[in-house]
């Protein structure tokens, strides 16, 4: 898949855990960081491609579970049904990711991943993409800057299906804000 437009910052921190650490959480290993970076990269590409596709109403909810919690510009949604309700009313989108950061979260193996994404999103297809009978007041796309944060949780019921894949993740928490 083409890399253009995605400036991936593999910004997961170094693994040194000081010996004075008193918490029970197991330390992050280099393997955790490699997993995190790869998984976050793969996830963001897949997520936004799905979001921007014609089949998003069927496909995007599969990233979520009934326990997922979403906030879209302050509006709360929950679960798979909530995602569907949000997507049903969303004009077509085109997302362009500028950067993402990820942290593996200690406590489970494989770890959960905290991922934050910056980019822009254009809603609507603009006049060139509209069918000839489109009403005059259809939204024309202007790119909006967005900031989105995910907590990705390994799915215990969905073992990896591809070689090299470590886990399937679902979205436990999702926060989106348009900026400006």
């Amino acid at each position: 898949m083409d890399d253009a437009g995605i400036q991936t910052s593999a910004s997961c921190p170094p693994t040194t855990i000081s010996s004075s650490s008193t918490m029970a959480a197991p330390p992050i290993t280099p393997s955790d960081i490699e997993i995190a970076t790869r998984a976050a990269d793969h996830f963001t590409r897949l997520y936004y491609t799905t979001y921007d596709s014609d089949t998003r109403l069927a496909d995007l909810p599969q990233f979520y579970r009934p326990t997922s919690v979403l906030t879209w510009n302050g509006e709360p949604f929950s679960g798979v049904d909530g995602t569907r309700a949000l997507i049903e009313n969303m004009p077509p989108t085109k997302h362009e990711v500028q950067s993402f950061d990820c942290h593996p979260i200690p406590g489970t193996q494989p770890p959960s991943l905290l991922v934050t994404v910056s980019g822009n999103v254009t809603h609507g297809k603009g006049p060139a993409g509209n069918p000839t009978n489109t009403p005059a007041k259809t939204i024309e796309g202007h790119p909006r800057v967005f900031s989105q944060t995910f907590m990705l949780v390994p799915d215990p019921t969905a073992p990896p299906t591809k070689p090299g894949e470590v886990a399937k993740y679902y979205i436990g928490a999702d926060i989106v804000r348009f900026v400006g």
Binding site: S11, P13, S18, M23, S118, S147, I175, R177, V179
Partner: protein
């Protein structure tokens, strides 16, 4: 119970930015040895490395203005805070858009920062 995380998140952010804007070295108690910061794509781990980074930032004065804050519960009592806002540095005219994500972990009667990710949003 469901309101608690929202007010914890908001109180934390208010406290964090007040300290940051007055004396960033006082943020040290908020972090632990295994806390992680990603600052403009650069990773840091542990209180010492994190505070060194924050106190070495080159501005003298800074003011954070929060435009939006979203708070969600995470697993095991942890709290996710997502902030969008503007930074004003050294009294300059530019208000730089930023976003910042914190994950807070309960510890006794307080919370500490396990994860902190900061980006200027110049997209």
């Amino acid at each position: 119970m469901s309101q608690d995380f929202a007010s914890v998140g908001q109180q934390f952010a208010k406290f964090y930015y007040e300290k940051f804007d007055s004396d960033r070295s006082q943020l040290a108690p908020l972090y632990r040895d295994f806390s992680m910061l990603t600052f403009e794509g650069q990773p840091f781990q542990g209180t010492q490395a994190i505070i060194e980074k924050l106190t070495s930032l080159s501005f003298q004065k800074v003011a954070h203005q929060v435009s939006s804050m979203d708070v969600q519960p995470s697993s095991d009592g942890k709290i996710l805070v997502h902030v969008c806002g503007f930074l004003q540095v050294d009294g300059g005219e530019n208000h730089l858009p930023y976003n910042q994500v914190f994950q807070l972990v309960p510890e006794g009667s307080t919370y500490y920062v396990l994860n902190d990710m900061f980006r200027l949003n110049l997209a």
